[in-house]
């Protein structure tokens, strides 16, 4: 087994942990000619924070959107290869895509709360799953908001519009909304990049707190942020996975030249 990983450029460090998402030989094309991912091979460990870094356009978002099959929405987008979530291929035809998306929650770059009340935003995913009992909803809404460290700020205006929250609060609301449907994996695509430093800090603390229960994959442009919050880091370049290792190793002692150049700011 170990040899397989090493052949793909992964270090043994990742393998000691239980795999949550296993990406094998994954390629992605937007239209016939436009390749965004090239034979990616990556294992995301369970209940750890994994950061995807790399210059703009290298395919981080594309990869992330493969994990919950949001790429299905893009016309002409073709994905080949396999991704296994807890051992099951999520691109198999037997998979229920809506259930997959519930299990793999995603938070986007720009906060996208629904133009509804704070309460209804969090309850949205629950109502879709047919949970309508008032008591149960109240309970889960509170738990989720607490988990997203937002409860204290909004508990007095749960029925006020979500659009009146600040950007940072909105982003935490979106996290709460995602946590409410009890996902196993949490994908964050540059989720703090549009926020002010204090909000960013809050989100980072939140991520650190959440990793006890969730497998988290974050995409970030901010290398310090990756160094602060992640346990593992994958460096991508032009649709290829260049290097994957513990964050400490990537930032102090990368194997590949390209990684070192990127870390030290020579490009990107």
């Amino acid at each position: 087994m170990n040899r397989e990983y090493e052949a793909a450029g992964e270090s043994a460090a990742a393998v000691e942990l239980e795999p949550c998402l296993e990406v094998r030989n994954l390629s992605l094309h937007y239209a016939r000619t436009r390749q965004a991912l090239n034979k990616i091979r990556l294992t995301i460990p369970r209940q750890r924070v994994t950061a995807l870094i790399g210059p703009s356009g290298c395919g981080k978002t594309s990869l992330l959107r493969c994990f919950n099959r949001l790429n299905d929405l893009v016309d002409d987008c073709v994905v080949t290869g396999r991704i296994r979530l807890e051992g099951k291929n999520i691109y198999s035809s037997k998979i229920d895509v809506t259930e997959l998306r519930r299990r793999v929650g995603m938070v986007f770059q720009k906060p996208n709360p629904f133009p509804k009340s704070i309460y209804e935003n969090v309850a949205f995913g629950l109502r879709i799953r047919g949970i309508n009992s008032r008591r149960r909803l109240d309970e889960i809404v509170q738990e989720s908001l607490e988990a997203a460290a937002l409860w204290d700020e909004v508990k007095d205006r749960l029925h006020g519009s979500a659009l009146e929250l600040s950007g940072g609060q909105q982003q935490r609301l979106v996290i709460a909304r995602t946590l409410a449907v009890e996902p196993e994996v949490l994908l964050l695509d540059e989720s703090a990049s549009a926020l002010d430093p204090i909000s960013t800090l809050k989100i980072e603390e939140l991520i650190t707190g959440l990793k006890k229960n969730y497998t988290i994959v974050i995409v970030t442009h901010n290398l310090q942020q990756a160094a602060r919050v992640s346990d593992y880091t994958a460096f991508m370049y032009m649709g290829n996975l260049v290097e994957f290792d513990t964050t400490a190793r990537i930032f102090t002692n990368p194997v590949k030249r390209q990684t070192e150049d990127y870390i030290t700011g020579r490009y990107g």
Partner: protein
């Protein structure tokens, strides 16, 4: 040679002026239109002073009484006068249209006159304007009252006596008005009930005959019910006769221009006032009363006088019905086109076709409605469900339902386009947010996208309503008439009479302006109706604009929320 004309030209100043000029011209036209309609239409209800004068154009001079209805400047060469004092040809002179009223007396209720030939112009305080149920306005001095043909007040009353006579006349007018209301109430509700019952019995009988077989017992039952209704009807008829006799009791005598005395039944008078003795306050009262009558009463004198309630009502019913038909259809079609239809040439073709439908001349829709809805669909419905009343058509004839359907078809593109635009404007991030939570496409559409697109649907609907409210041409083919005997919605089962013909504001204007036998008298009413129509359509369009503004505001909140 840098400055001068070429510099001015290159600076773009001419373009700016051109643009500003174009905008100003548009504004001027719009406001000019509203101003013209408003002034002519709304001014019509203000009680105008009535003059009395000697007119010197004929020999010997005649006394004229009337109100100035219009004035214009013409070349004197176009005028023909028999009298001395007619101006020379080539001169521009003003002439005025004098509304003389008293059409039943003189046969001619308007005349063009030269103001310069009016002599001894005065505005007598005791002169009375009568609005009548028939024959238009009447101007004259009250000079006596007859009750059952016997005089109750002295003819040719003068001074104090004249005022007493005026009060007495008003009292009797009030009495006649109350009697008339009672008569109308009976005719509207009770007689209509009886007629309706009779018709139902007739249809039941006919059904039994068509079915054949033994139905003696039922036929006897029908006979009994018919007898009851007949008895009720006879009773009501007696009561009506009595009321009609009572209302005919009084008549009044008036002295008209030239000194002749004319007797008028009080029952024929709708409203009487002394236009020259009114202060502004009283004039305002009369103005409002006439405006109220205009908005809430039935038309008289082939629509030239009275109100246009049935037209307002018919327009509203049609538009309402059309909205009910067009909204679900348009929204569902738009949702399919923009959310579910595969993005191929076929969808593109359909979308182009829908856009082109908006440009098809409306009379074509009218022809389609006539050919498809009325003859085909209506004829089939009659054959299937109303065979007992054939050969008289029920649905196989122009009516409310077909007019609404035709207009629904006509306005469908508007709703589809507006809804599609609204759907396309929903930020993709919201859809993805919903899908990422495990919602299906349908749930996303239903819970996130459609609620957000509601304002644009509403905008589309309002634009459709505005278009439909102002449409005339197709309606003439599919259900609108000059004068409808009954309202399409009333207290008779089934309350909403889809097969009935109805009146419509736009057609009302067309009819008054183009088809009226008495153009001068009809014009002000036509202007007032046109103003009302414009006001309604403008209000609808404005609300669409406001709605769109709100929508934009909403998206702005979404955008700024993300970047703060």
């Amino acid at each position: 040679m840098n400055g001068g004309v070429s510099g001015w030209y290159r600076s773009g100043t001419p373009w700016i002026w051109l643009n500003a000029g174009a905008v100003a011209a548009c504004l001027a036209m719009v406001f000019g239109l509203l101003l013209l309609l408003g002034a002519r239409g709304l001014g019509h209800f203000w009680p105008k002073p009535v003059l009395q004068a000697n007119y010197l154009a004929v020999d010997p001079p005649v006394t004229v009484i009337g109100e100035i209805a219009d004035s214009e400047t013409v070349d004197s060469g176009q005028l023909q006068f028999s009298a001395a004092g007619a101006p020379l040809s080539g001169e521009r002179i003003e002439r005025q249209l004098l509304k003389l009223g008293n059409r039943d007396v003189t046969g001619n209720d308007f005349a063009w006159i030269l103001p310069s030939l009016l002599d001894e112009v005065e505005y007598p305080e005791r002169l009375v304007t009568l609005e009548r149920r028939e024959w238009g306005n009447f101007y004259g001095f009250p000079s006596g009252i007859l009750q059952n043909g016997e005089p109750v007040a002295a003819p040719s009353a003068q001074g104090e006596e004249a005022d007493a006579l005026w009060s007495e006349l008003q009292r009797r007018l009030n009495r006649a008005r109350q009697l008339r209301e009672e008569i109308e109430r009976i005719e509207r509700s009770i007689i209509a009930d009886i007629n309706f019952g009779m018709e139902r019995l007739r249809l039941r009988e006919r059904r039994l005959q068509l079915a054949g077989g033994d139905s003696g017992e039922e036929l006897r039952d029908i006979g009994r019910q018919r007898q009851t209704l007949d008895a009720q009807y006879a009773e009501i008829r007696l009561r009506l006769l009595e009321l009609n006799r009572q209302i005919q009791r009084d008549s009044a005598i008036f002295r008209v221009a030239g000194g002749a005395e004319v007797e008028l039944p009080v029952a024929d008078i709708v409203r009487a006032y002394r236009p020259n003795a009114m202060n502004r306050f009283e004039a305002m009262g009369t103005y409002l009363a006439r405006l109220f009558e205009f908005l809430t009463d039935d038309p008289r004198e082939s629509n030239i006088e009275g109100g246009l309630l049935p037209a307002i009502y018919g327009t509203a019913m049609m538009v309402l019905l059309m909205s009910v038909l067009v909204t679900p259809l348009g929204v569902v079609a738009a949702v399919y086109l923009s959310e579910y239809a595969p993005k191929g040439w076929l969808t593109r073709f359909i979308r182009i076709s829908v856009n082109n439908l908006a440009g098809v001349p409306s009379i074509v829709y009218g022809m389609f409605g006539l050919g498809f809805f009325i003859y085909l669909a209506g004829g089939e419905i009659d054959n299937l469900f109303y065979s007992e009343s054939l050969p008289a058509p029920t649905f196989g004839t122009p009516g409310l339902l077909w007019a609404s359907l035709t207009l629904a078809l006509l306005t469908l593109p508007v709703v589809i386009v507006a809804t599609e635009e609204g759907l396309a404007n929903i930020p993709a991030s919201l859809r993805e947010g919903s899908l990422a939570l495990g919602a299906t496409k349908f749930e996303t559409l239903w819970r996130v996208v459609l609620p957000l697109a509601r304002p644009s649907m509403l905008t589309g609907l309002i634009l459709a309503v505005a278009r439909a409210a102002g449409e005339v041409a197709p309606l003439m083919l599919v259900g609108v008439v000059k004068l409808a005997p009954a309202l399409p919605l009333d207290t008779e089962f089934p309350y909403l009479h889809l097969e009935q013909q109805f009146m419509h504001l736009g057609y009302y204007v067309y009819d008054l302006a183009m088809q009226s036998p008495n153009v001068e008298a009809a014009m002000p009413q036509a202007f007032a109706a046109a103003f009302l129509l414009v006001a309604v359509v403008t209000a609808l369009n404005l609300s669409a604009v406001v709605m769109r503004g709100r929508l934009r505001e909403r998206y702005k909140a979404l955008e700024t929320g993300s970047w703060s």
